[in-house]
């Protein structure tokens, strides 16, 4: 697979998750393992540009795909916006939030809609797969809104 633009040839057991492969084999620890059951979104990465939960993805299913983690998107305007709007406290969910927001904005654009039309309620709904236990949701929504304006 290609990971953050680099070709990686990896021999992996079929039961290894994409999250574990990225973290343990490639050292991409920006991929966070929060719940390991698809409930928190901290492990969100992009596969061919589409946001997925890497904890529920068997790495072998993503053979040949282009994977992008937070390490591969930096520097990104969303990162600056998260800092500017206090879109985090502890920061553990932030890499997943930002990868998810990138995927979300791409999904929204693919529907043909104007990004400036994204209001708070729609951002919250579209981002509901990413939990923030510090409760920095207001800042997260403001940061996302900021990059669409």
């Amino acid at each position: 697979m290609r990971v953050n633009g680099a070709e990686e040839k990896l021999d992996v057991e079929p039961w290894v998750s994409l999250a574990d492969l990225l973290r343990d084999r490639l050292g991409l620890t920006g991929v966070k393992k929060g719940c390991d059951q698809g409930a928190c979104g901290a492990c969100t990465v992009l596969a061919d540009g589409t946001r997925i939960n890497s904890c529920l993805a068997l790495a072998v299913q993503y053979d040949g795909k282009e994977i992008t983690t937070i390490e591969g998107v930096a520097p990104h305007p969303l990162q600056e916006a998260f800092v500017r709007h206090d879109g985090l406290q502890c920061g553990y969910c932030t890499p997943g939030q930002i990868c998810s927001a990138i995927g979300m904005l791409a999904e929204h654009a693919a529907s043909g809609a104007d990004p400036a039309a994204l209001d708070e309620a729609e951002i919250r709904e579209r981002m509901s797969g990413n939990l923030c236990r510090c409760g920095a949701y207001n800042g997260i929504v403001d940061a996302i809104k900021d990059v669409t304006r």
Partner: protein
């Protein structure tokens, strides 16, 4: 996770043969449910047959206005399909009401049909569960059963079917096409999911070696005016306490066509046929909607934890139908 052999067939024949030859094999779609269950040790396949290379990921028009949905179409792709939004809005809304965007991007249509219950006793290997271990008993029946079914349960199991998508499919009379080495079979959605009875571990009419290849949606003109309404503990990303898929046609204050199905309250996606029967030809008003819901709930068996669901069904059915008949007046 228990180690397993992994196969990734390139065509349907190869996939079907692989599972026919190996009773310990399981098909894998997007992985959002099966991988989780394997990690918890609830599913322990010897072989996993990955379906994601099969050419079953397209939506095609059928003569007469129906749609044929490949089993590997991702949930997000089906919800975004403009034909679905135009012809079956309840289906697009149901899919978007389920899970999160990340999960919908991974999950397949075939996999959604085979989702297993989220009953906490099923997931907890220390608890008694007839679905996980036939004959072990059911800790949910006398336990914490707030999320459990009031319709379709048995003395063996009251686990709720978790899917939103399947509730809309039930209302739309979808047909599930399956393939095995014996050939092709078409199973009406009403016969696809099985009530628990004495065998709650047998959840569908699928044989172990049968592969879902497609879901066919027949033309349903009334579904152009349809809604999916879901009530849950938080505004998004939670399973339903109660959900309603409804389509309604009203002429001169009289119900001339209706489809109604319930989620979150039954052991299978629940087509509310008794309610439909009462509504059809009757007045389109709040009282009739509530009475129809009440009639559908006549066989309900409630427990202290889930008794609130009957009132919630009445209110949600009425609210969903009211939305649709108000839309009718506005035109």
């Amino acid at each position: 996770m228990k180690p397993f052999a992994y196969l990734k067939p390139a065509d349907v024949d190869e996939a079907v043969l692989a599972v026919a030859a190996d009773p310990g094999a399981r098909f894998l779609g997007g992985g959002t449910n099966l991988v989780d269950l394997m990690r918890e040790g609830i599913e322990r396949p010897a072989t996993v047959v990955d379906l994601t290379a099969l050419p079953l990921d397209e939506v095609h028009d059928l003569p007469g206005g129906g749609l044929r949905v490949g089993a590997l179409v991702r949930n997000s792709a089906l919800a975004a399909d403009r034909r679905v939004a135009a012809r079956y809005p309840m289906l697009a809304q149901a899919i978007l009401a389920g899970a999160s965007a990340q999960l919908r991007n991974m999950a397949t249509v075939g996999g959604n049909l085979l989702q297993r219950t989220r009953c906490p006793y099923f997931y907890d290997r220390e608890s008694a569960c007839n679905k996980r271990e036939p004959g072990a008993g059911c800790d949910a029946i006398g336990g914490f059963n707030r999320s459990h079914a009031v319709l379709g349960g048995s003395g063996s199991c009251i686990a709720t079917h978790p899917s939103d998508m399947c509730v809309a499919l039930a209302a739309l009379d979808a047909v599930v096409e399956v393939r095995s080495v014996r050939g092709v079979r078409r199973i009406p959605i009403a016969e696809f999911h099985l009530p628990p009875g004495d065998t709650p571990h047998v959840e569908t009419a699928l044989a172990a070696d049968e592969l879902i290849t497609a879901v066919e949606l027949p033309p349903v003109p009334v579904a152009v005016r349809s809604r999916y309404r879901k009530v849950r503990d938080r505004a998004s990303y939670a399973f339903a306490l109660v959900s309603v898929a409804a389509a309604l046609e009203v002429r001169d204050g009289v119900v001339t066509d209706v489809r109604l199905a319930l989620g979150g309250v039954a052991t299978t996606p629940w087509r509310a046929r008794e309610a439909e029967r009462l509504l059809l030809g009757g007045p389109a008003n709040e009282e009739a909607y509530r009475r129809a819901a009440e009639a559908e709930l006549a066989p309900a068996a409630v427990r202290p934890g889930n008794a609130f669901k009957t009132g919630l069904v009445r209110a949600t059915v009425a609210a969903t139908l009211r939305d649709l008949d108000l839309g009718e007046e506005i035109g």
